[in-house]
């Protein structure tokens, strides 16, 4: 954990971890006996599920919860479904966990094979969206978005991950190939590669621009890249995609290249694991592997009240179970010892102004947090720029009073969406 410097007059510089000079091949975690897949769809007790306990599934098979479901997961092993259960996500979002017992046979459903020669965006969006790195192919395929710029992120968005940099430097041949495939698929004229300052790459493609990103958090967040490098300020409440810019990680690009070359999809995800001692290691794991299998491999023991963070220290979330699976867009796992968890408090804002100084979006955080604490979500949006937040989490990081400001903001945005949805339904009913 990076602490405040003694000379506190200057802002703390939170440097991204840069990839080491000679990156080693990641250690491989063996395929566990059970894998767990998280499906973004909730169980409905009044309907009969399409998949159930005891079903045989093959590697590469798409699993839907109901016949009419649009959300699916792809099984990364072949075996038997052992459990289909509800899984509580953030903000009351209910997902479904599917546990599959691995039978170690080679049954492989490869629906993608026949599309691998055609380079069609719709087919790619259909089969490749759950590749390691989670390429946003559905957004690219959606004509509503009118994407005109594609940004290949060679920089990791959060501290304590080096996965994207690893793909940027070690797999540059695949990266080039993937970019060419993406060009062919999407026909997007403007392609940009973001590279951390201090790391040299030899990925040169005609017509592609390379942006050097300063290694200071939060400069690699998409909205900061939009502002600093693309000189486009995303209006409040809009996304980068609304502005015609789509971000895709270097890992996703490499995955796409491999999928087209091998004419099949693969499930090996690289994850950066930070142990309690702060030692960082990249691991190669199968999507669906529970976190505990990785921790066992690394000899990291978890005790009561420890914290497992999925994603980085600023943008991640903490899981309630050591069986949380590795997903397609999960770049890092951080294990924090119970003793080193910074506590939060319900103290009032003391108006010290540190959040104002550090906020990259110029939000009046001290006033905003008062509105949010009082549940005045609409005021927070109209007068105090709630929607301008780019969700970097720095306000909570520096808060002297240890107020969970970032959580207030995310909760505020969530509640605001609910209020807007209610207003719309009322309007529709009237």
């Amino acid at each position: 954990m990076i602490k405040r410097p003694f000379i506190g007059l200057f802002q703390p510089k939170l440097k991204y971890d840069l990839l080491e000079a000679d990156p080693k091949e990641p250690e491989v975690v063996p395929v566990p006996s059970n894998i767990l897949l998280l499906l973004n769809d909730s169980l409905d007790s009044s309907k009969i599920t399409f998949i159930k306990k005891g079903d045989q599934v093959k590697k590469g098979e798409k699993l839907f919860l109901y016949k009419e479901s649009t959300e699916h997961v792809i099984s990364s092993v072949s075996g038997v479904i052992k459990r289909v259960e509800s899984y509580a996500g953030e903000f009351g979002n209910i997902k479904t966990s599917i546990v599959i017992g691995n039978e170690n046979n080679d049954d492989f459903v490869n629906d993608f094979k026949e599309h691998a020669d055609k380079f069609e965006l719709d087919a790619a969006a259909k089969f490749l969206k759950l590749l390691p790195g989670a390429p946003p192919l559905e957004i690219l395929a959606d004509p509503a978005h009118k994407i005109h710029t594609l940004v290949i992120s060679g920089v990791d968005e959060d501290i304590s991950s080096t996965v994207r940099q690893y793909f940027l430097t070690t797999e540059s041949a695949d990266l080039k190939e993937g970019i060419q495939i993406l060009k062919k698929l999407t026909q997007i004229p403007k392609i940009i590669l973001t590279v951390p300052e201090g790391i040299s790459v030899d990925t040169e493609i005609s017509g592609m621009q390379v942006f050097n990103i300063s290694p200071v958090y939060p400069d690699a967040l998409p909205k900061m890249i939009m502002k600093n490098q693309l000189s486009t300020i995303v209006p409040q409440g809009k996304t980068c995609e609304d502005m015609g810019v789509c971000f895709i990680s270097s890992e996703a690009v490499v995955s796409i290249a491999k999928a087209y070359r091998d004419k099949s999809i693969h499930f090996e995800k690289i994850v950066c694991v930070t142990g309690k001692d702060g030692v960082r290691k990249r691991m190669k794991v199968l999507i669906g592997t529970p976190v505990i299998s990785i921790l066992k491999q690394l000899n990291i023991h978890t005790n009561e009240n420890d914290r497992i963070v999925i994603g980085g220290p600023f943008n991640g979330f903490s899981t309630f179970t050591v069986y949380h699976p590795v997903g397609p867009c999960m770049d890092s796992i951080i294990v924090q010892d119970s003793g080193s968890i910074p506590y939060v408090s319900d103290s009032a804002c003391i108006n010290c102004g540190k959040c104002i100084k550090i906020c990259p979006a110029n939000i009046p955080v001290n006033l905003l947090v008062r509105q949010l604490a009082a549940n005045l979500f609409e005021d927070a949006e109209e007068k105090f720029d709630l929607e301008a937040c780019i969700e970097c989490g720095l306000c909570s990081y520096v808060c002297t009073a240890k107020i969970p400001i970032f959580q207030y903001i995310r909760l505020g945005k969530h509640e605001l969406l609910k209020i807007k949805a209610e207003v719309e339904t009322e309007g529709a009913n009237a």
Binding site: G8, P313, I334, S347, A348, P404, F406
Partner: protein, 322 residues
């Protein structure tokens, strides 16, 4: 599932820079120590008594208010101790005990707790306490009278009172070096200019106070005093005298920068600080009080919410959709 370990589940961010209200207040208390220790050395045991009484009463009243309002105990954040210390530093060493207790009561209960405690006070609690005492028992703030029985090696006159009553000729009694080294009659913690400056620089470097306010306040003092002095040097004292006499430095470093009652955006902080300095000199040169610091800062506390609306536009606010 076997091996169900109960994990801590909380929200991002999962790091913190390690600062806390308690650490911040302790740092400010530490920064005040050079001036306090000098005051105790100069004014003896009575000064120590006043400081200790103010700090202990302050924490006691805070505790009582915690019980009365049924809120969690907040003396652990040392805010009450800091208020008590700063309050004690503003008093002359011979202040009777009941004046100290009354003042601290006003500072903690009326200045801070009835607004909701830490972070909710619209005025600096220390100044509320001092202002009530100044208005109710002005005699105790007559430093010449209060310190009559002391024998000083330096000119035994409170510089600002001397300026008020004897005119600008009194300035000649005090050299800048004397004022800076604490060779002046005054409150326990406000006479040692050099100590205050060291404490102030320490706080600014540590990031515990808003440096913009301190710098703008001092600039306000110097510029305003200079204008008065240039317009009529026979009536008005020069900027250096004003800067090092009375509560000026103490106000610039410890009072005007109080978090809750001061702005947080850069331009408002500069305006706030400058207006503070301006008001001090206006009250000193044109008003009836010898030292205007207390009322000047209370007045800028008043305008704080209004000027803090001057803030930069948030990212993406008012941007036309491209």
């Amino acid at each position: 599932m076997p091996n169900r370990v109960k994990l801590t589940v909380s929200h991002a961010p999962f790091w913190h820079d390690g600062d806390s209200v308690c650490k911040m207040n302790l740092t400010i208390i530490l920064a005040a120590m050079p001036a306090v220790i000098f005051g105790i050395v100069q004014f003896g045991i009575p000064a120590l008594g006043v400081i200790l009484l103010a700090v202990s009463c302050s924490m006691f009243f805070e505790l009582m208010m915690n019980f009365a309002t049924k809120r969690s105990l907040s003396i652990g954040d040392f805010d009450a101790a800091l208020i008590g210390l700063l309050f004690g530093m503003m008093l002359p060493a011979t202040t009777p005990w009941w004046v100290v207790v009354t003042g601290v009561f006003v500072a903690i209960v009326i200045g801070k707790q009835i607004y909701g405690g830490l972070g909710a006070n619209p005025f600096n609690p220390v100044l509320i306490g001092v202002a009530i005492l100044m208005v109710s028992w002005p005699g105790y703030f007559d430093f010449d009278g209060a310190l009559l029985n002391y024998e000083f090696s330096h000119e035994a006159l409170a510089p600002l009172a001397a300026l008020k009553h004897q005119g600008v000729a009194a300035v000649d009694f005090f050299s800048t070096t004397q004022l800076l080294m604490g060779q002046q009659t005054g409150a326990i913690g406000s006479t040692f200019g050099l100590g205050l400056i060291i404490g102030g620089i320490f706080l600014i470097l540590r990031g515990c106070i808003k440096w913009e306010i301190t710098i703008a306040y001092i600039a306000g003092i110097i510029i305003t005093a200079l204008i008065f002095n240039l317009s009529d040097s026979g009536t008005y004292a020069g900027p250096m005298f004003h800067l090092f006499a009375g509560y000026t430095l103490f106000g610039a470093i410890f009072l005007a920068t109080e978090n809750s009652s001061s702005p947080v955006n850069t331009i408002p902080m500069l305006i706030y600080g400058f207006l503070g300095g301006l008001m001090v000199i206006l009250i000193r040169n044109l008003g009836v009080y010898p030292d205007g610091t207390v009322f000047a800062i209370l007045i800028i506390n008043l305008i704080n919410p209004l000027i803090d609306y001057i803030r930069p536009k948030a990212l993406g606010r008012g941007v036309n959709n491209a």
